[in-house]
Symmetry: C2
Subunit: 161 residues, 2 copies
DNA sequence: CAAATGATTCGTTCAACGTCAACGACTTGC
DNA sequence: GCAAGTCGTTGACGTTGAACGAATCATTTG
């Protein structure tokens, strides 16, 4: 029963390891980002806005899975610094379309540079190629956002063929 | 100058993506672990104790980079549930050696099983092989712990030879 | 014996986050 | 055009996690 040979490996999950790495990064990144006047969630929001392009505010809230009211404050911070722009949607003037500004993109680049030292410290056991692999895996995982908040992932990740 | 050809890619860092994935996992994992009476940090501690074997309490605190006083409460929870054992170190009776119990290992397995559904939801864009790659990368990153809290990583990740 | 160390407990402080309630701007359905 | 619903915004409130300091006890070390 417990031995399905090769197929059945111990179900070790990445969640705990991810939590572990995240803790180590977070402790350091707060300090690294402080000189820029940013927090981790600011960088997260800027990253999403850079990678996805202009997004409606509630889409952004759904993607980063943050409460709408908190997104307001988050965007207030970013907009006060001129890092993002809020415009009204042309199709529905109730909505806001959020867009990263050139200044925001520059700031994000600075933040990523600052985070480089953090990653060098935390991910020191990984060589350059492994870090690129990690980045692309995370990129792929985060880029597949459910269209609705409750939608389960129906895409078959190509194991069939 | 700004173009070093192939070598110089935009310095996109994994930190923000890691933050992103972590948020999505955390929101769901708390709910998934609640029936077991566990929190994320409990699973983290159990994972470290399983992978490293019996560890001194301050080593554990250093590894998960958590304040010593908070580790006390964390271990109190785990010990109250019979998931870990605190014994006095034979060489220095001030120290505690923490060890995961059989019950703790079983509980950790249950927790990992419960987290499987969470990962299926969050990491749905990754196929099985990619998830294994992610796991091994995180494993490798977290297994290389600095011996002291301030020690920088001096190991060359095998690019040299 | 005196000093230092590890674990523990307690209390304080702070940031992040969720929730609820209310409001103005706007859209939609009737 | 009016009523109802939606989106963004603001504010207040409570919860949680976690860092920090101080005090205590047991133990080791000088």
């Amino acid at each position: 029963m417990p031995s399905l040979r090769v197929v059945n490996q111990p179900p070790q999950r990445s969640a705990a390891l991810l939590d572990h790495v995240w803790r180590r990064i977070r402790l350091r990144s707060e300090g690294a980002l402080a000189p820029l006047g940013l927090r981790s969630r600011h960088v997260l929001a800027l990253t999403v806005l850079r990678d996805r392009g202009p997004s409606e505010q509630q889409d952004l809230a759904r993607i980063i899975e943050m409460d709408g009211t908190n997104v307001v404050g988050l965007l207030n911070d970013l907009e006060a610094g001129g890092l993002v722009e809020r415009r009204r949607s042309p199709t529905d003037r109730r909505r806001h379309v959020v867009q990263i500004t050139r200044k925001g993109a520059n700031m994000l680049a600075k933040a990523e540079f600052a985070l480089g030292a953090v990653e060098d410290e935390v991910l020191c056991a990984l060589d350059r190629k492994q870090r690129e692999t990690l980045y692309s895996l995370l990129q792929q995982a985060t880029s597949a956002h459910p269209r609705t908040a409750t939608e389960t992932c129906t895409e078959e990740p190509s194991p069939g063929s």
